[in-house]
Symmetry: C2
Subunit: 282 residues, 2 copies
């Protein structure tokens, strides 16, 4: 990656803003587009970006060597549909989207071979949104997944890998779009479904006086962006339905073990979960 | 509570040891019984206790004004059955047990009116066990629940409340044994079932390379003491079965909403879980 690479961030929210912060810290030129004048104002005033514009600005787009989309899935697809011809030839483009199968091939077909769209997913987030919460330190403990297709070049993959390295992600992995969506269906989407369900199953405001850390831990992510996650779930519907079914079947097994007071099997399940979980300790 | 109250801790594990540490810090005389010579040795050498004995010691029991049981449920019941007559008249006795309905009345009947057994539950724990991990600072953010019955006196309840206050628990609540076990079935036991189930549903050691914080948060408590929690679950079986059923029904509702792509209802569920969870923020 050349030192004079000019980055453009389209969609300056929590993630877009954190990318901007991390790239500026490394000395890169960063500009941004956002539909919210407030976000652009804030980012210019605080030095998160060098240049910015509200809505669409053909000149900023044409001047960029590398573009990072921080938009919601449908907004990303719509932007590409409308403005996909505005990039300079050779521009490298990536995103932050939490699902891949439904969007990557559509975007690559629309963009053709003049530019390279190489999809990626930073596994980082907060229960808050907006550029005012931008903080590139949230990448330090996080995984980063690159999801190339047959249309991508080694140079393109390498560029996004370098981007993740300079943003100091903890671990960088390469998966197909299908693998990514299966794994995300389990690790991220199913866990959000469980947290939301646990919070919705009963309304008892006074429970806060009796709770230990367990319930707090399991429901932290029940504070969820309703518009974004509805899009993500629907775009990964088949994978998520299968994950819910697998989990429900395992839960039904535990219920039966408890019902039958099968002490041996219950203890085996506890030892298995204990052993498996230890691998996830940081 | 008198300054010269002599405490005896029976079962010197993580919780028993943490009680000992907290009581010693406040200047009380603390002795302990444990079946493990190592635990007693360690506690004597490090000053967690003033006196200790391995197994049963009638003199230490008779000298105590206040007794705290840190045993597993069945071991507690067995100890009371065998040695229930060894307390001095007027001794006040409490416990740390995570279920109440199945044990409190049994213990109170066995002990009669010579002494007072007033049950309580410190909602604190770690994924480690043993006196070497004793740390009374784990009580600072924790809730404490007192579960009196009709056999308990105001003075008895007041004594255990003072105990919780001097150990610096964040919040002290009084519930019936039935209320306690219902609430614990939801807040603590169901959450452990979910974490264990999520960890058991698939064996994919490489998943650690792709995970975000969500999966780690939801499975932290999947590291679980198999012997203790099997006892706790079986002693609260009916409540826990009902909690599993309610959760499974709510999960099935979410599945249907996703299957039918009911965007309105999905977003309503997300907004509801977000709003409810905000009440649990510390």
């Amino acid at each position: 990656m050349k030192d004079d690479t000019r980055f453009l961030i389209i969609g300056l929210g929590l993630l877009g803003g954190s990318y901007a912060q991390g790239l500026k810290k490394k000395g890169f030129h960063v500009s941004a587009l956002d539909i919210d004048p407030d976000s652009i104002d804030y980012a210019l005033k605080t030095g998160l970006i060098d240049q910015g514009a509200v809505g669409f600005d053909p000149q900023l787009v044409r001047q960029a060597n590398a573009v990072i989309f921080g938009l919601y899935p449908h907004a990303l697809l719509q932007w590409i549909e409308e403005h996909g011809d505005s990039f300079a030839p050779g521009t490298i483009i990536t995103d932050v989207t939490g699902v891949k199968t439904g969007i990557v091939s559509t975007i690559q077909q629309r963009l053709g071979d003049r530019v390279e769209f190489i999809a990626s997913h930073p596994m980082a987030g907060r229960e808050v949104s907006g550029v005012r919460h931008a903080d590139c330190s949230l990448f330090l403990p996080a995984n980063f997944i690159i999801t190339p297709t047959s249309r991508n070049s080694e140079a393109g993959i390498q560029f996004v890998r370098q981007l993740a390295e300079l943003l100091q992600f903890r671990h960088i992995a390469v998966l197909s779009c299908q693998q990514h969506d299966e794994i995300i269906g389990f690790l991220s989407q199913l866990t959000h479904v469980i947290a939301v369900t646990l919070m919705n199953v009963r309304e008892q405001p006074h429970l806060v006086d009796y709770t230990g850390d367990s319930f707090r831990d399991l429901t932290r992510i029940a504070k969820i962006n309703d518009a974004l996650w509805t899009e993500l779930f629907l775009m990964n519907k088949q994978n998520l339905l299968r994950e819910i079914d697998d989990f429900a079947a395992e839960l039904a097994h535990f219920r039966q073990v408890l019902q039958q007071e099968d002490v041996q099997e219950m203890q085996r399940l506890f030892r298995q979960s204990t052993q498996r979980r230890k691998q996830f300790d940081k």
